[in-house]
Amino acid sequence: MKNRPLLYTSYAGEMGLLNTRAKQLSVGLMILVALVLPFVLDDQWLSLLAICAATAIGAIGLGLVTGYAGQVSLGHAFFIGIGTFTAAVLSGDPNGRTLGFGITNMLIWLPAAGLVALVAGIIVAPLATRLRGLYLAIVTLGLVVIGEHIFAEWSDVTGGLGVGRPPATLDVAGYHVGVTDSVGTKDQKAYWLMLILLVVFALAARNLARSKVGRAFTAIRDRDIAAGVIGVNLPRYKTIAFAISSFYAGCAGALLYPLIGFIEPGSFNLGMSVLYVAMVLIGGAGTISGAIAGAFFITLLPTLTRQLMPLLPFISESSDRIPNLLQLQTILYGVLIIGFLIFEPRGLFGIWIRIRSYWKSWPFSY
């Protein structure tokens, strides 16, 4: 039926991934713009955007468990670490200083990284099925502490604290993405790769969210007892939530460090977990696009603050002076989280919702 966007004659139509013309057009347009960006921006920006995209995959993962299923997890850094090291070990140099198996194909190490993290998630999940809220947050915090210790001590795999090891190589079935060639510079190619992966992961998550599993997640988030009463199998769906979230985290870690170029075992700490929680909250909990927006925003924030430096002459760039850039950034994170929670609890996505409903309700106000 033409020109009748609200008329659904099947559930499939109503729950469609992109169920309105406006969504189809805007998503298509955004992907198109993103694809041609490499011809406009210089490589420094592209490399930053590629990192954003990889980070966004991790944020989507946390968004699934925290935003959709409502299970607050501070252990995200742990799962990211597992994925990172799995990929690095698999594709590492067999004759190198650290453990390595020489399987450089991304098509192998990426799923492997995700799966190992997923298994870790399943092992942890029983905790989540018994605990909730603050208690769960504290337990997952313990996970990060354990992880930090293992990563610091198991130097065969991680290279050890302060030393680190090289990450996985970006090599898709024999084609090196990380090397400049006739197709494009290494940053352009890495950007395209990350963009495509982000689209795939985001659509998969969106697809999950609209399915029976996604509805079970939101039911658990809104009230787990009520969800149990209406027939949602709580242990099962909480386990699924943790498993999938860990899978996303593992993949994100495996993809992120090849872009950065080096793994520092100490970086998988509480600070990283909190950063991801901030992405989900600032972006908008319970939405995929919100998680992506949050990841881009938080990742780009340091660069943006540096761009602002000329406007703030009293802030120093060197870290031994006060006030300096690093302090400004840290304070900014805190202010942003507080600000968003107070003024825009639904995050960046909430702002979009507000704009959208203003025009959607035109010419009335509701």
Binding site: N3, L6, T9, S10, Y11, F364, S365, Y366
Partner: protein, 620 residues
């Protein structure tokens, strides 16, 4: 006949009925959508083939229950697929469909069932079954009550007359397997004199009367109103979409739902309930929209209320373009509905900022023909819709002439008139009484079991007395003054038509009911009922606290508001036609309490009696 022809249950009947029309559509376009109904959030589609299959099952089931030619089958339900299955199923076995209003209280249900002598009642749910069971003793001819929704009935009610819809259909399927040609044979025997339906008129005076409409009446109506474009011009077709939401037992909705569907293949969509008409309209975005004045008034009031609470910028935008729309409407009224270059230009601009989105919100984006009928409407209401780009036409007809009388045609609209006589229709205005009379193939057969009333409704030379007083405008269009029996003659001897004044009042979003009084009195007065929703909102914005309907109506601020509306309407009328005093109705008028008819028309006599104290207070 060849062997293959006898094995298929489809014969060519000589007489076209609405049942054969559906059958032919099912053969020609089996997969096309005939109707939709919203069920658990999804508009389920029914194809013509499925529709026809269901009609046959119902037909066979009725045969299995022993329904003979001319037996009455009553349907007591909201608009839904089963209403049409039952109606057409009954027609296919030459039985007579009798529609009951879902709002009918038990006493009226008892009257209608016993008066019509229905043998089978198809009741929607527990509520309607309860009403029938309550009056079962007074309906000796009623043999079966088929209930559509089993909730609350199955396993709980013990009555040998009860039968579930599923059982009913299973009975039909069994009968169909045993006698595959039975329905087809019965259909083939149908004649144009067969009574097809009894339509009980709402009866503002006395008990309802059952108008008998025959196959030829309905075919005439289809030729005039559907094929001839009498109610929708250009004529409707299979690509047209409409929403069915007014009671199907009323002749108007029966035309738009059943006959448009069978006659022209229009896709019918059933609204979930009367309360969800607005959201359903928005989803369906019909191409043809028929409404009674009350519906149009409500939509207009809804727009005004929602605009009043919009943000300042949106209010400003609406104010600007409403002003422009008034100008456009003035032009359209002058030209009979044809756009001029200037009005088209203004509309195009406003379309960008206001009209497009407003029409989308109202569910009128795709409306190509809107019609108002069944009661008089204030011209200001029609003008509003014309201004925002909804092609609005007032039409006129009544049950007794199968709703074939007059209609405004696109491009020849005269505001304040009900339009020009339909094709093949004779219409005259009695020079003595001013009464409108019609004569054509749609004139009803008579009132069921009431020859006296039938005789009173007809002139000796075969004209139908409509009971409406009217006049010719420019020799082509008809303007209706009022119902003959409603005309007020003041003690000063002045003839006054109350409906015009009442509609002027009701055009305000704050007034739901207005009853003008003044017969044999010195001056005119009015009983006024407020619209709870809008006045409540209005009061809230002014921080006026209230408890009940009555409390709100008696607030001095509200009285002042109503006075200002009355003054405004008075300013448009001559001094004798002005309302000197008014009183507020202490309650909302209701069908169950006998103050309104099933079609929500005010029963003047009942209201006059019930609120006699108020009236005496005015004149006393």
């Amino acid at each position: 006949m060849t062997a293959t022809a006898t094995s298929t249950p489809i014969n060519t009947t000589t007489t076209t009925t609405i049942a054969t029309r559906v059958r032919d559509r099912a053969l020609a376009t089996p997969k096309a959508v005939a109707m939709r109904e919203k069920d658990f959030g999804i508009w389920r589609e029914v194809t013509w083939a499925q529709y026809w299959q269901r009609i046959q099952e119902v037909g066979h089931a009725l045969l299995a229950l022993g329904i003979e030619h001319g037996d009455r089958v009553a349907v007591h339900s909201e608009n839904r697929r089963e209403w049409l299955y039952s109606d057409l199923g009954a027609v296919s076995v030459r039985a007579i469909t009798v529609g009951l209003y879902p709002t009918n209280p038990p006493a009226e249900v008892g009257y209608l069932l016993s008066h019509s002598g229905a043998r089978v009642l198809i009741a929607e749910d527990q509520e309607q079954v309860d009403k029938a069971l309550e009056v079962l003793d007074s309906c000796p001819e009623l043999e079966w009550i088929v209930y559509i929704e089993p909730r609350g009935i199955r396993h709980r009610y013990e009555n040998s007359k009860l039968m579930a819809w599923e059982e009913f259909l299973a009975l039909g399927r069994k009968h169909m397997a045993e006698h595959p040609d039975a329905v087809a044979q019965r259909m083939a025997a149908a004649g144009s004199d067969d009574i097809l339906t009894l339509v009980y008129t709402s009866g503002t005076t006395g008990p309802p009367k059952g108008a008998m409409l025959s196959v030829s009446n309905v075919e005439f109506a289809i030729s005039a109103l559907v094929d001839g474009g009498g109610f929708t011009s250009p004529p409707p077709g299979p690509n047209d979409i409409l929403l069915s939401y007014l009671p199907l037992c009323h002749v108007a909705e029966r035309i738009f739902t059943t006959w448009y569907n069978a006659g022209a293949g229009v896709q019918v969509n059933f609204a979930e309930s009367v309360a969800t008409v607005q959201p359903n309209l928005r989803e369906i975005q019909p191409t043809i929209l028929f409404g009674v004045p009350r519906i149009w008034e409500r939509i207009l009031a809804g727009v005004q209320i929602r605009l009043a609470s919009a943000s300042w910028f949106k209010r400003l935008n609406a104010k600007l373009w409403t002003g422009v729309a008034n100008g456009i409407a003035d032009t359209l009224v002058r030209t009979g509905g044809n756009h001029t270059f200037g009005s088209r230009l203004r509309y195009a601009l406003g379309w960008l900022f206001y009209y497009r989105s407003l029409r989308e919100r109202l569910g009128m984006s795709n409306v190509r023909f809107a019609a108002s009928g069944a009661a008089p409407i204030a011209p200001e209401v029609l003008k509003f819709f014309m201004g925002i780009g909804v092609p609005m036409h007032e039409v006129y007809g009544m049950t007794e002439n199968t709703a074939v009388a007059t209609g405004n045609r696109p491009g020849r609209v005269k505001l304040g008139t009900v339009g020009e006589p339909q094709n093949n229709t004779e219409l005259r205005i009695d020079p003595d009484t001013g009464e409108i009379q019609t004569r054509h193939g749609g004139t009803f057969v008579g009132y069921y079991r009431d020859p006296a009333a039938t005789a009173a409704a007809m002139t000796p030379d075969g004209w139908l007395k409509t009971g409406d007083v009217g006049e010719w405008i420019d020799g082509t269009h008809v303007r209706i003054t009022d119902r003959a029996k409603d005309i007020i003659i003041t003690s000063g001897g002045k003839n006054i038509s109350p409906s015009e004044i009442e509609n002027g009042l009701k055009a305000s979003p704050f007034i739901k009911e207005a009853i003008v009084i003044g017969d044999q009195r010195k001056f005119l007065s009015a009983l006024i009922g407020i619209e709870l929703e809008t006045v409540g909102e209005w009061a809230q914005r002014r921080n006026i606290a209230y408890t009940t309907y009555r409390d709100l109506g008696e607030k001095p601020e509200v009285l002042k508001l109503v006075q200002s509306i009355v003054d405004e309407v008075n300013s448009k009328h001559a001094p004798v036609e002005q309302i000197r005093q008014f009183r507020m109705l202490p309650k909302e008028l209701d069908h169950e309490d006998g103050e309104l008819t099933a079609t929500m028309k005010v029963k003047r006599s009942a209201v006059g009696k019930l609120f006699a104290e108020l009236v005496e207070d005015i004149y006393g």
